[in-house]
Amino acid sequence: MKKRTSKRILSALTAFILLSALMTSCSKDPVAPNEEHNHDDPAKVALLFIKGHYHGTQLHAHDTATVAVRMDGRFIDPETNALLDKAPVVTLEQGSDIYQLQIKFYAADGDLLNGEFLQEAAIHQFFFLPSVTGVLNYVYKDDRVGFTGDFSVLQTGKELSLTASLRHGINKTVQREWNDVKYNTYGSEDFKTVLQLKTVAAGAHDHE
């Protein structure tokens, strides 16, 4: 009887040792990680102020001033990617021209991401908050998303900042103005930057 018991215990212990051996024989190396790309994160945003006027619905552009922001929120030279100390000042002239603001989101590999936002236009909207009211006016040109829209100058001789904030998860059945001061209570933020602007009187513009 005693012998049988010992035999059983021995079997149990053998099973345990086998299990332990099975476990320790497993690899110590983790599975090689898969290289994931952050599809959601733009690496660079370019804001183009295109000066011009309309012929019908066609914009006749003259000059373009571009402000570029990189993924850590800092301003860079749009041509050389060199880091800038501060936000470049964009000068806007009052007159018969408007400034079409086109905003372009680029991935790290240079792909344009705007389509991803416009595909979900129903929940995305850009807001633009000037630090001084009554100086600028803005009209959405793309179903209230704000990737394309026109600024016009109402007052000259002003230096102001312009907060540009792209929000998602917005209920757009409610009409919200481009400069709604409660913008940061709608949905959540995709992108934010603060631009520096200066408005000046109209200069001579030779139209060919």
Partner: protein, 739 residues
């Protein structure tokens, strides 16, 4: 600390003497305690107060101390205590145990907190197997259904010797009911309905022996629930629905001295995360905190959208037990666990349907445990444990993983010796653990290069390129734990026990390797790959009176944790393309936690009983002389219970009113959190229950109204308190039929 503890021992001894001779003193003290929340309630007109979803359990069912380990305080929940909580999460079920609270991420994610510690500082045992999930995240609830358990025990001591690493704050043990060998078919079916959230669910248990083969027995169990958006006192919380479906089963063979069992459990949940908590940058967060309530009021819906979580946890275990002649027993088990966690965020271009986090954790573990109980009063237990874990980020998320892939192996041996004498019991134990971690992760880094490919300073012209960086490596951890316990039988019903235990835990991969933006927390977090393990020493002294008109359980504890790992605010913001986020770094310090857990029950008349539950905790970072964050505020509950006369068919009928007062957490360093702790709040809950017998059938009924006054409140331990309030009034009905 030593002086303070000796003083408390002296106070305990004096309390025993006074209350034993003059029980009316206790009544006076308890009534005085009752006045505290009443006073606060009177002040409530100008202090926004709050409530919780707590309901209550039948008092007698929370047994104090006992069979798990007599020297360490153990609270055991079974029977009505569990039935009256069916359909709730593990953390919610444990809310009436003094010293246990819960940390929440909104209404849908709850994690138990024992004496101020949670997550990887407490252990959860699923039928004896350490639950292995992704417990490193505050927004990761334990992947377990409390309905699998016949009893749930909460061990508050540092039980590192018996259970190994991570048992710093305590252990939650879910024991399945014993198999019904030789018994006929029996079972239970029940349903749970709740008004708030339109919740409905149910569960069943079926078990049987085999009369022609008495050596065989089996049991199956299942539960499920569905709820929609919860409502606070004033508004709905959008996207707070939950769906859950769980099963477990066990079969056993018992012959002679052998018992062989096979057990399996399956847990699956899909839960929404309150959409109002989805924020961009810190400016968003501040705006929401100032507004106090969500900007967009919700409505009721069962729909669950992103952000949401889907979690499936499977456990399979087989056990072999052998009973020797000399009262000793040998147990060997092997278990396999699989935990799959998928988290879905609001993403563009249809990617909300692709998980942003997709983790598969597989764990194989085995244990050998031997114990002997001799008639001479000597008891010995010894054993060995081992486990092998593999964590794998599933490819295709399109998001850089938060934690790396890793392999983790651990092995431990332990021995515990007890000596039981007529007037006292002594216990000592020792354990050695060896752990091994091998992690490998990848993340992209960006830099500027010139035309030749060389890195250029950020202020010079260059092309912007992405590079892949690998991180991780091997780490080894070794630890020796010990414990010493004494139980002293003071008088017939009075016991005084004291227990000193060591426990430890190695750093988690998230603490070692976090890097970058944590969207859910709106913060940038950096890990530290050089972090060492935490080493905890907990001294807990408990005074108990287990029967009689007065029942008492008072535990005083002090815990020192060397190398306590926490997220230290760096008081700087990092600008990203999404806005500015505060920076946090994982750091280590030394922490000291002390507190008192009290449960006192007094039978005023044969049918009327009063119970006082209180929990106080003080926690400091003793290196920096600061308060530790997210420590539960002081809480006092009063319960008045009336038990109806026992009948032949209808019995165990009761009605009880519970008043719970949660103080404002004032032990807090200003500026260390996004918002100051919320004000104190006072809640009332009403519960009634009965049991109806008919031959061999039993019907159990419970009706509960939690947050009876529909109080609007915020709890300090709710991580979504920045955005919203807690759940409002909730009427719940539970019916179960046993046969």
């Amino acid at each position: 600390m030593f002086f303070a503890t000796m003083m408390h021992l002296y106070i305990f001894a004096t309390m025993v003497h006074i209350f034993d001779r003059y029980p009316s003193c206790l009544i006076g003290l308890l009534l005085a305690g009752l006045l505290v929340p009443l006073k606060v309630a009177a002040q409530k007109e100008w202090v926004p107060s709050a409530s919780s979803v707590l309901d209550t359990v039948l008092l007698k069912e929370i047994r104090i101390s006992g069979r798990k380990d007599p020297r360490v305080p153990v609270n055991v929940l079974s029977g009505n205590a569990l039935s009256s909580r069916s359909g709730q999460s593990l953390a919610q079920v444990l809310q009436d145990v003094p010293g246990v609270s819960m940390i929440q991420t909104g209404t849908t994610i709850t994690k138990p907190v024992i004496n101020g510690l949670h997550g990887n500082r407490i252990l959860i045992l699923n039928n004896g197997v350490k639950q292995e999930g992704q417990q490193w995240g505050a927004e990761h609830a334990p992947e377990i259904d409390p309905a699998i358990a016949g009893t749930i025990s909460v061990i508050k001591g540092a039980a590192g010797v018996r259970y190994g690493a991570e048992a710093l704050g305590g252990v939650i043990v879910l024991d399945v009911p014993p198999l019904p060998f030789g018994k006929p078919v029996s079972g239970e079916a029940g349903t749970v309905l709740a008004a708030n959230g339109g919740s409905f669910g149910g569960g069943f248990t079926l078990r049987s022996g085999w009369t022609s083969h008495p050596e065989w027995a089996w049991r199956i169990q299942g539960s499920g629930k569905k709820n929609g958006n919860f409502k606070t006192a004033d508004y709905f919380l959008n996207n707070t629905g939950v769906r859950e479906l769980n099963f477990s089963g066990e079969a056993g063979f018992r012959k002679g001295r052998w018992l062989i069992t096979a057990y399996g459990s399956y847990f699956s949940t899909e839960l929404g995360i309150f959409s109002g908590a989805h924020i961009g940058d810190t400016a968003d967060l501040k705006a929401r905190i100032q507004h106090e309530v969500p900007f967009e009021k919700g409505n009721f819906s069962y729909d669950i959208d992103a952000p949401r979580q889907q979690v499936v946890h499977r456990l399979y275990k087989t056990t072999v037990q052998y009973q020797f002649n000399d009262s000793s027993r040998l147990e060997l088990w092997y278990a396999y666990q699989e935990d799959r966690r998928q988290e879905f965020d609001l993403r563009r271009a249809g990617r909300s349907a692709i998980p942003s986090l997709n983790l598969l954790l597989q764990t194989r573990s085995a244990a050998l445990h031997w114990e002997q109980k001799r008639h001479s009063g000597w008891q010995t237990a010894a054993g060995a444990t081992a486990s092998y874990k593999a964590n794998h980020n599933q490819p295709g998320t399109g998001v850089v993983p938060l934690i790396p892939n890793y392999k983790y192996m651990e092995a431990g041996v332990y021995g515990i010796q007890r000596m039981i004498r007529r007037g006292y019991e002594l216990e000592a134990g020792l354990r050695y653990d060896h752990h091994y971690l091998n992690a490998l992760g990848t993340r992209p880094f960006y830099r500027y290069v010139n035309d030749a490919g060389a890195t250029v300073p950020v202020n010079e012209a260059g092309s912007y390129v992405k590079e892949v960086y690998y991180y991780g490596g091997e780490r080894y951890f070794n630890n020796v734990s010990g414990m010493l316990g004494l139980r002293w039988k003071l008088k017939a019903a009075w016991n005084l026990s004291t227990h000193i235990g060591m426990a430890w835990r190695p750093p988690q991969v998230s603490e070692l390797y976090s890097y970058g933006l944590h969207h859910g927390a709106a913060s940038i977090e950096y890990g530290d790959s050089t972090l060492k393990g935490e080493q905890g020493y907990k001294w807990i002294t408990t005074l108990q009176k287990q029967y009689g008109r007065l029942q008492l359980d008072a535990s005083l504890y002090t815990q020192y944790i060397g190398g306590y790992i926490f997220l230290q605010p760096q008081r700087v913001y990092e600008q990203t393309i999404r806005g500015a986020f505060p920076v946090f770094r994982y750091q280590q310090t030394d922490a000291l936690l002390s507190g008192l857990d009290l449960t006192a029950r007094y039978r005023l008349w044969p049918a009327l009983a009063y119970e006082l539950r209180a929990a106080f905790i003080r926690a400091r970072d003793i290196q920096q002389q600061r308060y530790l964050p997210l420590i539960p505020a002081d809480r006092i509950s009063h319960v008045l219970q009336y038990r109806f006369k026992e009948g032949q068919r209808i019995n165990t009928s009761y009605i009880q009113l519970v008043s719970t007062f949660t103080a404002r957490q004032r032990r807090y360093d200003p500026g260390s959190d996004f918002a100051d702790p919320p004000p104190a709040y006072h809640l009332l809950h009403l519960e009634a229950g009965t049991r109806i017998y008919c031959k061999h059938h039993t019907l159990r009924l419970f009706a509960t109204v939690s947050n009876l006054l529909n109080t609007s409140y915020k709890d300090y331990l709710d991580r979504f308190r920045y955005f919203s309030h807690g759940v409002g009034r909730n009427l719940q009905l539970r019916i179960s039929y046993q046969f």
